[in-house]
């Protein structure tokens, strides 16, 4: 069944690795919905988190192709509902600061005033969407930046696919 799936890919921290991985998704004509990259605890490793909409068979095939790359140490794939998923939003806005403050409090977001008004919010992607909608109704959005999702697999997560070291 097609659903959002999260790939946790532990890789060598060197040039070209992200290209090799995204190129595999390109090969099968998949749109990457989100990709984030960050260091891991190990000195020379990074973790790439990629979200795509795929069925089980496609996910399996991706995991294999990605794991075959020598610079890839580990691939874990989990359906989104098996993960704890968060995203960071930064929104640069124009409008009434007090009204903005209220919206911020409603969402548990933070309002930063450093010359411009910046709303900082961390939450589930669905909530990020909702917040953006509300902001665009009530304020003038100058620029928004979203990080894409970061996630960890839940302890009781189901249907996890793992190609280990």
């Amino acid at each position: 069944m097609k659903k959002e799936r999260v790939f946790f890919i532990t890789v060598a921290d060197k040039p070209g690795v992200l290209f090799k991985i995204t190129n595999i998704f390109r090969r099968k004509n998949f749109n990457i919905e989100s990709v984030t990259v960050g260091k891991t605890l190990a000195e020379d490793e990074s973790q790439i988190i990629i979200t795509i909409n795929a069925d089980e068979e496609e996910a399996d095939s991706f995991a294999r192709m990605v794991k075959r790359l020598i610079d890839v140490y580990e691939v874990v794939e989990a359906p989104k509902e098996s993960c704890y998923v968060q995203e960071l939003l930064l929104a640069k806005l124009e409008g009434d600061p007090d009204m903005l403050q209220k919206v911020a409090e409603n969402y548990g977001a933070q309002l930063i005033k450093n010359g411009s008004l910046i709303l900082k919010y961390v939450g589930e992607p669905a909530n990020v969407e909702e917040l953006i909608k509300e902001l665009s109704n009530k304020f003038k959005i100058i620029h928004i930046s979203r990080t894409g999702i970061t996630a960890v697999v839940k302890e009781d997560g189901k249907d996890i696919l793992r190609f280990g070291r």
């Binding site: 090969r27 075959r68 020598i70």
Partner: protein, 561 residues
């Protein structure tokens, strides 16, 4: 650990590193971006074979690798040299052949500026190599070379690229040569889980109608004797994929030949009647299994392979045993021997024998000439002589009728199906095994794609035999147009040009057009003894069909004969 340090240019370091790997020969064509490398090569004992097109250089290195089991090395300059080489590297990749490709690159400061003959070689090659290196300083070269050879030749083998900017070749430095390299995350050796092997043994014992299916992995890991032991203790017939030909001698009483789109009638039939397939070093590709649903229905599939990403890749409900084949099979054989019942007179063995007796070597279709030629080639060549093939009907005929007796003596482009592969691959194989006869079984269309390698074979003194099954058409295309597209021929007629013997002679090779089987035998025997490359042009009817033929999308049961 460091063995030595010396003050060298990058190009000298490259040559020295290649010498450390015991490279005997490099196939290539020089260019601006590789001139420093060539200059350093002049001071080395490594032989250089000058190709006439980089694609052929890559096929030569590939043929050398497949015949010898060693790593083949090829080289090309930046830009057009690298793009020409690409088809050959992709061919090696799909057949898991250990080749190291050295390409020149423009100087670092020119990269990304669309400089003369600059292309993103690493970017283009990445999807078709096991790994790509681009050393950015001379001192990185020894590590990259050692790592490239290590990666190319271990685990599931494959080509590796080293793309070297020109200024990295010319800069000098105190350069250290590592004795060993370690590549994080790369663990080519996998020990099989003995528990899984025991489980597999149980499945084999329980099976009533098992078939062994050997692939290219079984050829490369040289597990033929173990497979025979397994087969003989349990009287299991042995089928192969196209790439698996020669893993076990095809004249063995249990061998039934290849399965697949152009498999033998009895092998395809037996596979579809079996209740267990024991896959060894295979990847269950679409050309082998054909309709995968039918292939997997009503039978268990055991899968021995070194590559963990192959487990359950094409067959979801198979039972995989991942690990070094030699080790897996050693355990398997000893387990089987402990529990095995001798099955010689089982109904299954009778069935195998009955089908094999009737269909082995049988020619379907009217008056086909090609199979007779191929059978003659087999009769005349020795067991260690080597056959390469082009792609198309000639390849399928060779698959069906050339019985391979030793591993590494049948060399074909199975995965990519590259026309033009066979002839340069034959030249590479001949360099590896100079005392053996090497024969390219070719179609006229394919041979024309790389026939300029005649110049290489003559100039460098590398004599091979080319047998052109000359049907004046792109035969396999014509066959499909005849059978699948209702005789609607288009763009498959080549005509009676060129005059192949004259073409061969123009290059200083020998060439002859033969008339009938006896004539062929006479000239083929002469060609085998010839000290110069010999092209034998065999006229074949343009209407000849290769049968059996399983049309795309059909199951192995639905053979057209």
């Amino acid at each position: 650990m460091i063995v030595m340090a010396s003050y060298l240019s990058g190009a000298q370091a490259l040559v020295k590193a290649l010498e450390e790997e015991k490279v005997e020969v490099i196939f290539g064509i020089p260019g601006g971006a590789t001139l420093p490398f060539y200059d350093a090569l002049k001071d080395s004992n490594i032989r250089h074979v000058l190709a006439r097109h980089e694609q052929s250089a890559a096929h030569m290195a590939d043929g050398y690798a497949r015949a010898s089991g060693k790593v083949g090395v090829c080289t090309a300059t930046s830009g057009p040299g690298a793009t020409n080489l690409l088809t050959g590297i992709a061919t090696a990749y799909l057949d898991s052949s250990p080749v190291v490709a050295l390409t020149g690159q423009v100087a670092k400061s020119y990269i990304g500026k669309d400089a003369f003959q600059e292309i993103d070689t690493v970017g283009i090659y990445t999807p078709v190599v096991k790994y790509a290196f681009q050393p950015l300083s001379a001192s990185e070269i020894p590590f990259d070379v050692k790592a490239a050879f290590y990666i190319a030749s271990t685990g599931r083998q494959g080509p590796v690229l080293i793309d070297i900017p020109k200024d990295v070749q010319t800069e000098t430095a105190e350069i250290e040569f590592p004795e060993k390299v370690e590549i994080k995350g790369y663990r080519p050796y996998i020990k099989p889980d003995p528990e899984a092997v025991r489980e597999a043994a149980k499945l084999i014992i329980q099976a009533q109608k098992p078939v062994i299916l050997v692939g290219g992995g079984a050829v490369k890991s040289e597990v033929g004797p173990l497979i025979l032991e397994l087969a003989e203790t349990f009287m299991i017939p042995i089928a192969s994929t196209l790439m698996g030909k020669g893993a076990v001698p095809e004249n063995h009483f249990l061998s039934v030949g290849p399965i697949g789109m152009h498999g033998t009638y009895h092998a395809n039939t037996l596979i579809m009647e079996s209740d267990l397939i024991i896959g060894i070093g295979v990847r269950f590709s679409d050309r082998t299994t054909m309709d995968i649903k039918e292939f997997t229905k009503e039978r268990m599939i055991l899968h021995f392979d070194i590559d963990p990403t192959e487990a359950r890749k094409n067959i979801v409900n198979e039972f995989p045993v991942i690990g070094d084949l030699k080790e897996s099979l050693t355990i398997l054989v000893s387990e089987i021997k402990k529990m095995m019942p001798y099955m010689k007179n089982s109904p299954w063995h009778k069935r195998v024998k009955e089908l094999k007796d009737y269909y082995d070597g049988r020619i379907f279709g009217e008056k086909a000439m090609s199979p007779l030629i191929i059978k003659k080639i087999r009769e005349i060549l020795g067991p260690d002589d080597i056959v390469t093939t082009e792609v198309g009907q000639a390849q399928a005929w060779a698959e069906l009728f050339y019985k391979v007796l030793k591993p590494r003596t049948f060399i074909t482009s199975g995965g990519l199906g590259t026309m033009g592969f066979g002839f340069p691959a034959a030249i590479g194989a001949k360099v590896a095994k100079f005392d053996k006869t090497v024969v390219d079984i070719a179609g006229d269309g394919s041979f024309l794609m790389t026939s300029n390698s005649l110049a290489t074979s003559v100039a460098e003194g590398i004599p091979v035999v080319v047998v052109i099954l000359n049907n004046s058409v792109l035969g396999m295309i014509a066959q499909w147009q005849r059978i699948v597209y209702n005789n609607r021929y288009i763009a498959s007629y080549l005509g009676e040009t060129p005059n192949f013997p004259a073409l061969a002679k123009a290059y200083g090779a020998e060439g002859v057009r033969v008339n009938g089987i006896e004539d062929f035998v006479k000239y083929f025997k002469e060609a085998v003894r010839s000290e110069v490359t010999y092209v034998i042009d065999v006229p074949i009817s343009p209407e000849e069909n290769v049968f059996p033929f399983v049309p795309a999308g059909k199951s192995l049961r639905e053979m057209i004969v």
